[in-house]
């Protein structure tokens, strides 16, 4: 079994402090249907709430923060799941059922499992 991160990209969403009913029902449905492979996951507040942190000069250096997301792009990271699947085919099939993949895109990346 391999652990995959499914990173959900799409248009900037402001769901307030909860999701619009329709969105949440789609995700609730996915959560139920894919419960066997979902190992974790969260939705994120919009990028207007993001802060980028850099330490200038490496460990122990000056902490510099910037308001806003790491990169200005049309598609932003809106959330993610951790999926435990037999192989990439199963991970792709699962990612295709994430509602975010229907309007934006889901990037599937294998997770390094440090031993």
């Amino acid at each position: 079994m391999t652990l995959y991160a499914a990173l959900i990209y799409g248009a900037e969403l402001d769901r307030g402090d909860g999701s619009p009913r329709e969105m949440s029902s789609e995700y609730a449905e996915f959560g139920k249907a894919a419960a066997a492979v979902i190992r974790g996951g969260e939705g994120l507040y919009p990028t207007s709430t993001a802060t980028v942190v850099r330490v200038i000069g490496g460990k122990g250096g000056d902490v510099v923060t910037t308001d806003g997301p790491y990169a200005e792009t049309k598609e932003v990271l809106n959330g993610f799941y951790l999926l435990e699947c037999a192989d990439l085919d199963e991970a792709i099939a699962t990612a295709a059922r994430i509602p975010g993949a229907w309007h934006g895109a889901v990037e599937v990346r294998p997770v390094i499992e440090f031993k």
Binding site: T2, Y4, D87, L88
Partner: protein, 433 residues
């Protein structure tokens, strides 16, 4: 390491052929493409070293498999001694029970579907097909695809890493997925073929594509896409020796020496087209239909005998199963031959989405020549030349434009010298997306 000794050359070929098959099995045994490659390469080198002295063993494949397995076990042991992990080596030590012969067939198929997995970029699939399925070295793959060896080496390493880390599976897709995945495999093999077919020095890529198409046909003899792919490749390849001049210039279809077309390939291709059509009666496979179009050209004794009405009908069929702007462009050429340049121009004008495609401009230019609209033809040739084109095609289009200028400079608007020969069809490769 070329040897004039034919016995040695045969031995090298045997070792290489068997090595490819053994690799597919070793991938199953080890679950690791890189490890399997390293182990098989070692076994191949040993065979080339010892067999000339000891003679070829009675079962060369079994010898190579065993030697490669032992080598893989060594490599895993060495690695586990380094990292302190022991578990992996143990499973490899168990020699598999007697494996039925169809297991090898399945091993090869699994590897085909791994190398042509849609999660890999198409250019990566083509490189992996040459390297892993055809057994070409990194340097040979680089030469065949015109990519520097260092770049190719990186690309192949990254691909194998992705297969291992993302767990791209080794398995034959189930019946529901198979048609789609098979079209992916066919597209890879066809791209490999066109990579070689489009250049005077591209024999390696074209040969290996044909070999892969034959392998697929051996593994899945009933699949229409496979029948169509092999037929299409054979029919196009039958013209290979006539497609370029000694200087490497492209020779248009109409001007090729048909006596030198390779008859056995044509015969085999036509039989495969028939079989492919019988096996997909309701909805013909796009590769089968493209092969049928290629057969119309291959079977015409002279260019003037081409049954353009049949070609046009096949394009109409192709549109029902594979409707793309490029197919419509090819169809427009057939329309031009059947109904005249004016009708073809109308078709082309409706395909303005192709204005970034050089062959759309080149085809327009040829039609404008036939309509004696010389100035517009010249502009269209220029627009084609301003876009990226293969070297041979660029020279061909530039030559056509130059011929136009020569005639115009002779104070003559008469362009029958150009209109007399019908050139457009060969300059447009049929491409399946």
């Amino acid at each position: 390491m070329t040897s004039p000794d034919p016995a040695h050359a045969a031995l090298v070929r045997l070792v290489r052929d068997e090595g490819r098959r053994v690799l597919a099995t070793l991938v199953r045994h080890t679950g690791d493409l890189q490890l399997a490659e390293d182990a098989v390469q070692d076994a191949v080198l040993r065979a080339l070293d010892t067999w000339p002295r000891t003679g070829v063993p009675p079962q060369p494949r079994a010898w190579l498999t065993l030697t490669a397995r032992n080598r893989a076990v060594d490599l895993v042991r060495r690695e586990s001694a380094r990292t302190g992990k022991e578990a992996e080596a143990v499973s490899l030590l168990e020699p598999p029970a007697n494996e039925p012969p169809e297991m090898l067939r399945d091993d090869q198929l699994r590897l085909v579907f791994t190398c042509c997995h849609p999660a890999l970029a198409l250019e990566t699939q083509v490189a992996l097909a040459l390297h892993t399925l055809c057994g070409l070295s990194t340097a040979e793959v680089g030469r065949a695809l015109l990519v520097p060896e260092a770049t190719m080496s990186k690309r192949l390493t990254r691909a194998k890493q992705k297969i291992a880390r993302a767990h791209i599976p080794y398995r034959v897709p189930d019946a529901a997925e198979l048609p789609d995945r098979l079209h992916g495999v066919a597209a890879t093999v066809y791209l490999l073929f066109t990579e070689g077919y489009g250049r005077a020095d591209g024999a390696t890529a074209a040969d290996e594509a044909l070999r892969l198409a034959r392998l697929l046909h051996g593994l899945m003899p009933d699949e229409p896409a496979v029948l169509g792919l092999l037929a299409l490749l054979l029919l196009q390849d039958s013209r290979r020796s006539t497609r370029f001049t000694a200087a490497g210039d492209a020779v248009p279809l109409a001007d090729q020496d048909r006596a030198r077309w390779h008859r056995p390939s044509i015969t085999e291709g036509v039989v495969l087209v028939g079989e492919g059509l019988r096996r997909s009666p309701g909805r013909p496979d796009p590769y089968v239909v493209q092969a049928a179009i290629a057969a119309c050209h291959a079977l015409a004794p002279t260019s003037c005998d081409t049954d353009w009405a049949a070609v046009l009908s096949w394009y109409d069929v192709l549109l029902t199963v594979h409707d793309t702007p490029v197919v419509r462009l090819n169809r427009a050429v057939a329309v031009g031959e059947c109904r005249g340049p004016q009708a073809a121009m109308a078709e082309l004008d409706s395909l303005a989405t192709l204005s970034g495609y050089p062959l759309w401009h080149a085809t327009r230019a040829e039609l404008l020549v036939r309509l004696e609209r010389v100035d517009e033809a010249r502009t269209a040739f220029d627009e084609a030349l301003a876009l990226p084109l293969g070297e041979a095609q660029r020279r061909h289009v530039a030559g056509r434009r130059a011929a136009l200028v020569d005639e115009a400079a002779g104070e003559s608007r008469h362009v029958s010298g150009l209109t007399g020969s019908r050139r457009a069809s060969e300059s447009i490769p049929t491409i399946l997306g």
